[in-house]
Amino acid sequence: MRGASVIVIGAGVTGLSSAWWLARSGADVLVIDKGIVGWEASGRNGGGASHYHSPLFHEEQRLWPQMDELLGYTTEYRRERVIFATTEHHLDNYRRMAEICRGLGYQVDDLDPAQVRSFVPLAGDNVTGGIHLRFGGQANPQRTVQAYAWALQDLGGRIAQHTPALRILTEGGRVSGVETPHGVLSCDHLVVAAGPQAQALLAPIGLRLPLAPSRAEMIVTEPAPLMPVGGADGNGLYGRQTLRGNLAYGGGPHEWLEVDALGPYRRPSTPVLRNLAKRVAELLPRGAHLRVIRSWAGVVENTPDGRPVLDRPADPGNLTVATMSGVGFGLSPATGHAVRDLVVDGKCSFADLGKLTLARFKETPPDWRERQGWLPTTHEEALAAMAG
């Protein structure tokens, strides 16, 4: 195997989109991954694409409607989203979210209960109201990751699966390549989009990226007739009705994990799937008879403030870090563009990323995970903490 002008570590959505954008600019790109494309959280998420809090939001909204055409493969993207409530408390929250989105220049309609049911026929008499985002939407994560991979290859980019990055190599203060079990791969620029594995890769070259891995889980039902708006959620859940008709929803308690260079070795679901089933049945009572046929869990990386790192630090100068703190799928079209800009031009052309640098963690104490309680915690430890 030979190196490349740009090597991307991590064949998740962030790494694949970055590589695809770089290939579109004519770069010679190689993506390496410890497993197969999109196998971790990139292929195990709700597929939402409405991230109004992000500096990449406008680019996310600009790109998604074009992605099928740009990639040449379907992502199952569908525009619009209905978020609806079964309590006044949730409805208040959703209406405030609507205000923020309107403030950003996007159309959001308030919905009364009957309007909610017309868009989401599986909703019930318990609806208190909702909001209708005339933007955003959702796509199929599993199809999208493969679409990025194929589109990248169609442009001449390469993907090396089952090729974990073991070490970042430097020479004269610059990154010179990556050590893998299949040999050293040299590069002119390195993009680290390795999710939970990024921290351990960056530490030996003096870059501190504090990350804590956690697990989130979702459940899936058998197909139901398609609703007018598939991107419908609320009641503490995120998710959607897929184009096949399945209801796929997640949310609720997460678990903090330890992950090494090759892990996670398992992605266990837990009895939380019963709490998810309860909330889906409450949200969509006319679908409460639907059978749950699957659950899944994904392992994501979290920064201490929950915000991404998109940064090309001055030292070593030829390395770009991209981690989305567990919120990477929907933003991925825009993230890839930002990474492409950082690698090629040294600066993002469409958004200010100044608040997403590594430097903000300079003062983060070494034991930050322990202080925040973001470590694997046993039942007994938790009970002691709750009592104390």
């Binding site: 409405s50 979210m97 197909p223 959620d233 308690p253 997460h254 039942h379 430890e381 938790a382």
Partner: protein
């Protein structure tokens, strides 16, 4: 806990509710192996719960859960009370288990099992998820004995989705445990021990067996069995593949076979086709638990990794009966199953500190390479590419090899049309989970019971790979397809409800970017609690 250490109230730690019930030993599966294990353990003084899902609801039987029933059951299965009586009558060991003090639960599904380990630090103890038709609950256990048996490996041919095409283990269950088989005249696929046993059961019950069919030119069982069957007017048709079942509303009325060498076709009248090619161990709960599973060609496919057919890679989980491996793809038989159950009880009791000597390791079954025989069938059936292989998602063999997106996505784009299995193989070995995601094969409500193995075998055929080189497609809880309202935790704890968050509950994660570092930051953090619904 150190004074420094914080606690994340949004996380799962401390929120796993105590199980609704607690036993020392939980046995899943009330067949000969499981019931024997439960009886032996109870007699030694242990508290034992034996859970068996039979009688399974007609709804799940229609999804070929847990066995490949193929719709060939009578209305008797609708009568739950009669079914319970029939199940007790057909398995005297269940009565013996009651008498030995075992807490026997019939008609109860085990949809998941969870044991503390990597990624599950928050789980205080090992628990299993149970359910009946009305509700779900949990039971804690110290030791788990899986006696979930084996199920049929199905193979698709045109018309196999009609009532009347079924598996050998399901046929045995409908004949014995359920007394609800509705067919009269059978054609049996396969000529190995499983097919021979199926024919003998049918003939002994007064059913007609028209023929045994094999794609192989060689009769797989002993020649004496071939002679015995021919003497009973059963045709043995070798070197033939099934190419289509014809039928009406009531199910199939005949099967057409084609001679692989001569090409001649022939129709055989029958109301049932029993696929008796191979069984494979039911490893779904072990996979959900995180136990080690590996290809075992002599044991019918992927089987638990076990040094002795009893222990697993998990210290608190043990095996009894065919779940440890269906020798030769046939299963171990009743006597061996009882012995296996006894040994499982001994191993469990010893692990709990009882002074019990562990019996000798059971001798393995016949050295028949069941996986190779499955591949023989899969290779022959590759000649029938346009047959739906995944009934739930309507995926054909050709779709699988073309990695074709589902039809509801419309015609493939030009770039998509250039992609197929070969282009994926350029990136690495075949991966069934990846193919699932792209074609949807194995993603339906039957939870891939009808197509999991044949999809893996087809990928092996199309990739020129050994079947053992295709990694096991992962099983996920719930391993029984239960309605949302049944599975739901309606009684969830106030702690879970109070700290429920859409995502990780990280303060400020959803703060609008422009507000970060401004006085608006605290304000937006306050109003955007409970996640962002992004």
């Amino acid at each position: 806990m150190s004074a420094q250490r914080g606690f994340d109230r949004i996380s799962q730690a401390g929120k796993v509710p105590p199980p609704d019930e607690q036993v020392q030993i939980l046995v899943v599966g009330g067949g000969a192996a499981g019931a024997s294990a439960a009886i032996a353990a109870a007699k030694a003084g242990a508290s034992v719960m034996l859970v068996d899902e039979n009688p399974v609801s007609p709804g799940l039987m229609g999804l070929d859960t847990p066995l490949y029933f193929g719709g060939r059951y009578s209305n008797a299965v609708q009568a739950q009370g009669r079914m319970v009586e029939q199940i007790l009558a057909s398995n005297p060991l269940l009565e013996a288990a009651f008498e030995a003090g075992v807490d026997v639960r019939l008609g109860v599904y085990v949809w998941g099992a969870f044991t503390p380990g990597w990624g599950l630090a928050s789980l205080p103890s090992a628990i299993a998820g149970l359910a009946d038709e009305e509700r779900a609950w949990t039971v804690g256990f110290e030791r788990l004995i899986l006696a979930t048996g084996a199920r049929d490996v199905a193979f698709a041919f045109r018309g196999w989705d009609q009532p009347g095409v079924m598996g050998a283990r399901a046929f045995q269950a409908l004949m014995g445990r359920y007394d609800a088989f509705s067919g009269r005249r059978l054609v049996i696929l396969g000529t190995g021990e499983l097919a021979i046993q199926t024919a003998r059961t049918a003939l002994a019950s007064g059913l007609e067996v028209a023929a045994l069919i094999d794609v192989s030119e060689a009769f797989q069982g002993p020649s004496s069995a071939a002679a015995e069957l021919r003497a009973a007017d059963v045709e043995i048709l070798l070197g033939q593949i099934p190419i289509g079942a014809s039928g009406g509303l009531e199910g199939i009325e005949g099967l057409t076979v084609r001679d692989l060498a001569a090409g001649a076709t022939r129709a055989i009248a029958c109301d049932t086709v029993v696929e008796a090619i191979s069984l494979t161990p039911v490893v779904e709960l072990l996979d959900v638990l995180g136990g080690a599973i590996a290809p075992a060609p002599l044991l019918g496919g992927h089987a638990p990794v076990s040094p002795d057919g009893t222990a697993t890679s998990l210290a608190n989980v043990f095996l009894a009966g065919d779940v440890a491996g269906a020798p030769g793809g046939v299963g171990m038989g009743e006597d061996a199953a009882r012995a296996s159950g006894h040994r499982a009880a001994q191993a469990v009791l010893a692990s709990l500190g009882h002074d019990v000597a562990l019996g000798a390791v059971l001798t393995p079954g016949p050295g028949f390479d069941a996986l190779a025989y499955q591949m023989t069938w899969a290779r022959a059936l590759m000649a029938e590419p346009d047959v739906i292989i995944c009934q739930c998602e309507e995926v054909t063999r050709a779709d699988l090899v073309a990695v074709k997106p589902p039809t509801y996505l419309g015609p493939p784009s030009p770039a998509q049309a250039r992609r197929d299995l070969a282009s994926l193989l350029e990136d690495g070995p075949p991966n069934q989970d990846q193919i699932k995601r792209l074609t949807r094969a194995c993603m339906g409500p039957c939870q891939a019971r009808r197509c999991r193995e044949q999809v893996a075998l087809t990928l092996a055929c199309a990739s020129n790979a050994a079947p053992s080189d295709v990694p096991l497609a992962g099983y996920r809880a719930p391993v029984r397809a239960l309605p949302l309202k049944v599975l739901a935790a309606w009684d969830e704890s106030p702690e879970i409800a109070r700290y429920w968050d859409v995502w990780m509950g990280i303060p400020g994660q959803w703060t609008p970017y422009d507000d970060i570092g401004t006085e608006r930051e605290a304000l937006s953090a306050g109003i955007l609690g409970e996640g962002g619904h992004a």
